[in-house]
Symmetry: D2
Subunit: 460 residues, 4 copies
């Protein structure tokens, strides 16, 4: 049996080959099989419950679908391109298995609401996996942060060493981003988790169905309120892809840092063999390939988002075949995201920290100049802008003498600002600098440890 | 005074002209002036409250800032490119006005946390405008839907007439989309509404500031928990742009329908002169320019989202100058969205419905064939798939006779399926078809009116 | 043997599972096998020719590679994920087949220049297929245009009927676009067709290779002049994707027209069963699925372009693993483009033109108003702007009387402009209007037939 | 006079405020004024030449337009939003200046072909500026490369030090990219440089115009062959934006390197004060802001490309108002590109090279391991793969001893491969390594100088 036969008898001629090739979706929508079967079972049960089909038919349908599920799970199902899509492949097989009753399953529904339902279920599952993955990522970050709450490293702005911070503080920044990513997925989940089943082709149906029953049985929060919207809406997938894009943007930032930090110029970290690759021609290389790929996956996920935004733009209601392009965009993004998340989670755990290199870099480049300026404000009561000017002149002096601020003689400093006293030494050291940043959210180890505690509690 | 002077004395040489041109942001970030001033006032008050600056200085700062606000409001402020950005322009003017005390304002903050705070305040305001705009759009849709709860039109899939629906039902689909858009903006608002002020350059500060005070005074839900994150995060802007992109995708779908519906081939609606333009060469034209522009704006907003996703990809922490490109992307998208939303809201109200044309089109193309199939299932107890085949053959018969289903003699139908009785006429009419779709979310006028009631209540 | 083993002995530990999964490219880069083998054969021949390896080794390598090619062609090759990529899979199999000599093949090259070479060869082949596909599309358009050089249809602006044109003229517009698309692919081909082989890892090699020999043997225009550029450049792929995106934009415009024209509101064309699909619930539907999918593919190809632009942004030289993401973006776009092009080529041939419907629509909506205005300019010597005003008033008159311009009594016209004479009738008919547009590039059938002749000649 | 008045008298009511706001383009399309005036002058001359208007009218029009040009050049022209766009603003002013004759200018044209002509002229000018800008960029790169043809630096792959290269070689890679960028702009120019003027609204005209005359007078290669295509095509702008996107991708790669190289971890270069900025809180900072902004502009230009691809997708022929969104996307990209190009050209000249730091980094991390492997292949006749393994083991040895390859005693190497002789020292030094890469395109200073000569000749 071909799909053509399933549409009915009006079509005299079969589709052109090219038509079949562009039209068939079974090569990718087979990934919806579990969702399709679950939704069909719920639909059949509801039809029987409402007296629209016989209970015996519903039972036959249920058993047939269970068997098909098993066949697909075990790789024993033969998918056919002639049958176009996952829905028709399953229904055709159901007909083989249970005969006429199979023909009653499609009562009061259409492929339009069916695929929307399946796809929402799939996206919901993916969101749940993503949220779990983000949690695991947070857990590894927090563990690493806890081990390095007091490890001093340079805090960069413009990739210039700005002020010393702690590695723990730096890693916790990603915990925050991941938390917001989870919130975005939660929002996308709420948008996704409404049930279009029963919207039928577009207008609803005259059969006395109970949409609430199927919706709740499938774990949806309820039935969608408008059938045209039910079959036309793909904003749930767009919101999902947006959340994916933003999340991979975050991952790409950490990936960039891993690439930088494991370069010979930084040497802040070392990835183990498990997360490095060698070179076919340069035996000494330890390439952070996984981090580079995560960086690239970010662009790829954005590509998927652009695809679906472009597909949906200016589509009149209700269903249009263009929407079939929603699935590969989402599947590809989901795969990229899960890979990227798992790889980053692994790398965070894997990376060995080179504390001396970090500390050495933190001490470079006058990174405590701000502390000097702040001391002048605090102790000498100068306005900040004036303190800033004074500090600039002192830095220029140290630069000219090729020494650090700590090594610049007090007398030299006093040529710029006579009020400076020996107490200034107390703020120019790295540990003192870091420890002093006690404002809420600041890099002081005390604050970092408080935040670690907060997150450990919250992730329980 | 130039910014260069504000950075302090270490820079011997001024910036190259091209550097000044690429670097200066005052041409666009002046839009942040109200937010910048509000945040500075809150900051100064907190500094005084915590004893970091004198109350008299804080008062002077407050009054100076109020005056600057007035100057800018009234177009009396001279912006200077040499002063680079809105922060420096305002601070320099403050120095003119109040002298040395101005130099104390920048204590315990940096432009990094300052701009992040300003920008979040701006985005938050924009979100609130967008939400109000969406509400107004919903109100107009509901009013039009109420007037046309029973107006029959063709329901399209693949731009083919599929089944009759009501215009009210169709318009309510957009009310649903707008509701989800509002939910997305609410999620973006929550992400935006956390305060980075006090993160200083990146590491927090050693001054005993009270971040909660400034956060709450500025209406934020609280202070951000990590200072590195505070100056580096732009996911709030990305989430905002995502919400904008999805919303304009929805608007573009209705815009496309307005273009189609006002074409001479459809003639479903007529836009008044207020929303049409003429042609410089073809005097008879009534062009739906506003709808076309809304359609295009959708792509433009996506462009802004792509821009910012690209900007943020793989940026190491914390602040980098790349982030300066966040503002124009957001401002441009905000302007496009507000225009598009207002234009659509206006057009929904403006469009005159050509009921006869809609009804005539609905009756075309065998649009009640599904009703015939459903009757066969319901009355003759055939499986749906078989009923579908029978219907296909009857449609082919009508097509060959060039008549509609209602006009096909019963005897002809019976040649295909002898069980069909005269009762079939009761389901083949447009009004009967529409009225029968009583499932929840269906197109039956009864259901549509219930939904209108639901929305009127909800939007109160 | 695993790749790890191929890198050499320094790596103590194997890669993490997730690393293997994110890193392996064999699942997609196997599509490069023919190119990889061709390039390796050319490389081995050159190495022997320059005395770098023995001729006997080169011969063994050549035969081994031929056998591998046959194995892959016939689906007998077992690809291994442990071997990461197509290069390693082939080299490992070559080692199985010919032993030690296989280890000499990689002399004076690296995977970096190898993959760049393979990929350029693949893209070049794809460009050639695309150009042929565009030619076939042009041929079908011209044939249909020739059959309808005089078929009158409405010319639309803003989807409003503006002036009558001929269908032949309309279709030839796409021939022009396709010609420019071919020019773009030709430009992309020139960029692609330079050979990086011999750039080795990044710096060139100390072996006395002859890059010109391999370049020319592989059909390249020459060897790339800079080895760092050779392994780092992907602008050829970006230019290819740009050409693809612009081409599918053109295809999407015609696809949109096919969707519109086959709607019941237009009925300008009818697609045969070969290019339509039916509905599972509405037996009367003839859905233009292929056109809708082409429309959507356009967005998908743009997504691939965005992906690769994002991947390449800000990558420091030379090779980075991020670039591995170039291939799936290109392969996916190539597949989409080839499908879309073939489908459109088929549909152009397939579509049956409903000439009466087109003519009827062309006569609608005062579409010869411009002819009236032009007559006033030409005959009454009024300035165009004044003629435009006069015409506007006459159209308003006809609109009020619910008649067309041809049916408006002369006396009525003269109330607006007394100078109008009965001669005006000669320009208000559809055929007269179309025939009068004799300017170069105009819609007059004479001009259209000239253009058809031009194109038939050019495509010979 | 308002545009509404120019359309003619049929519109009873003025446009809604929001309509005016979304519709008016004068705020941005005023940038086309020089092109609009030039095209109008050529059009008027042609009309007179063909006897369509009187020579005296053409003269009056010409003088009037010249005056308007002067007014706009000197900022004396008052643009009006009520007049919508640049065309109407100029025509209205022309009417003020010369009266009735102004109304004859619009004979045989429409705003549709007019704006397409103007815009093509603008894009053509921009392409010419871009090509000159790229040439200047190449000149600076070559000059710097000439000064550093023998300066050794690390060649990176995966941001790991791979093999030593010369800075001259590295910079020449960008010369190659820029050359291909110029080729892309040349291709875009050819696509752009065809004249649509005379296409009129969409169908051509019945006036006996001479399109070749206006085309050639305006410097176009000829008149477009299809009037529908003439007013509908925007692929020239898309191709332009693609070329811009790819060019800025190249610039972003060098920008990234400038950011990296000027970081304290690399210290390869130092930007002067002219291209650095300071920090408002950290006086010691030298931020490479311009490079960061170039990096970001790359994403912004991609955003513009995405915008216009999205706008044009699925637009039915011929002109639609959506296309008005072409200009801001192009203008914004053009501005970004010109800025980015000028900034990079300046930075290339500005950057001071820290040769010792580059050389030191090049010597790090066993970067001559490939030379060792190649020596084993060349001298000991081992297959490359075996030589690779041997080298890997020697590197591991050196790593364990914490020394470089040059410092590893010969006897130690011989424990891994007894065949190694003292001659090995001759290939392990940086200069020897670099000098040995004599293959065409290789990094040997000899080759680099040859390439510099080639480029100096070519750019003459």
């Amino acid at each position: 049996m071909t799909t053509n036969e399933m549409w009915g008898g009006r079509f005299a001629q079969g589709p052109a080959d090219i038509m079949k090739e562009i039209n068939a979706s079974i090569d990718f929508d087979r990934r919806l099989y579990a969702q399709d079967i679950a939704a069909s079972k719920a639909h059949a049960r509801m039809l029987a419950h409402r007296g629209i089909i016989a209970q015996s038919d519903a039972d036959a349908i249920g058993h047939g679908l269970d068997q098909i599920r098993t066949e697909i799970d075990h790789g024993k199902f033969v998918f056919s391109r002639d049958l176009e899509d996952i829905h028709m492949n399953i229904e055709a097989r159901l007909t083989d298995l249970i005969g006429e009753a199979a023909g009653r399953l499609h009562t009061a529904r259409s492929r339009n609401d069916q695929v929307a339902t399946d796809f929402r279920l799939w996206v919901r599952d993916s969101i749940d996996r993503m949220s779990q993955g983000l949690r695991a990522f947070q857990v590894n970050l927090i563990a690493k942060a806890a081990a390095h709450a007091g490890t001093v490293m340079p805090g960069f702005t413009h990739l210039q060493s700005a002020q010393p911070v702690t590695l723990g503080h730096h890693l916790l920044a990603y915990v925050e981003m991941a938390a917001r990513d989870r919130a975005r997925f939660a929002s996308a989940r709420a948008c996704t988790n409404e049930c279009p089943l029963g919207a039928a082709a577009l207008a609803g149906t005259s059969f006395p169905i109970d949409r609430e029953q199927t919706a709740l049985e499938l774990g949806f929060s309820g039935a969608m309120r408008n059938s045209l919207d039910g079959v036309s809406a793909r904003d749930f997938a767009l919101e999902y892809l947006s959340a994916c894009s933003i999340m991979t943007t975050h991952l790409s930032r950490l990936a960039e840092e891993i690439v930088l930090w494991s370069s010979p110029q930084f040497r802040f970290i070392r990835l183990s063999d498990a997360f490095s690759t060698g070179s076919s021609i340069m035996p000494q290389k330890r390439n952070p390939d996984a981090a580079e790929l995560v960086r690239a996956k970010c662009a790829r996920v954005t590509g998927s988002l652009v695809t679906l935004l472009g597909v949906m733009k200016a589509l009149p209601l209700s269903y249009a075949k263009d929407m079939q392009e929603d699935k590969e965009a989402v599947f590809d993004a989901a795969d990229s995201c899960e890979l990227a998340l798992a790889a980053m989670t692994g790398m965070v755990d894997d990376m060995q920290i080179n504390e001396p290199a970090m500390r050495h870099a933190a001490g470079d480049a006058f990174s405590t100049a701000t502390d000097l300026a702040d001391w002048i404000v605090r102790v000498l009561k100068k306005p900040f802008r004036e303190a800033h000017h004074i500090t600039g002149r002192i830095v220029a002096l140290a630069e000219a003498r090729k020494c650090g601020l700590l090594d610049l003689p007090l007398s030299e400093m006093q040529t710029v600002e006579p009020g400076i006293t020996a107490d200034i030494q107390s703020v120019l050291g790295l540990d003192a600098s870091v420890a002093s940043r006690l404002s809420f959210g600041g890099t002081a180890p005390t604050r970092v440890r408080e935040q670690i505690g907060y997150w450990q509690e919250r992730l329980k």
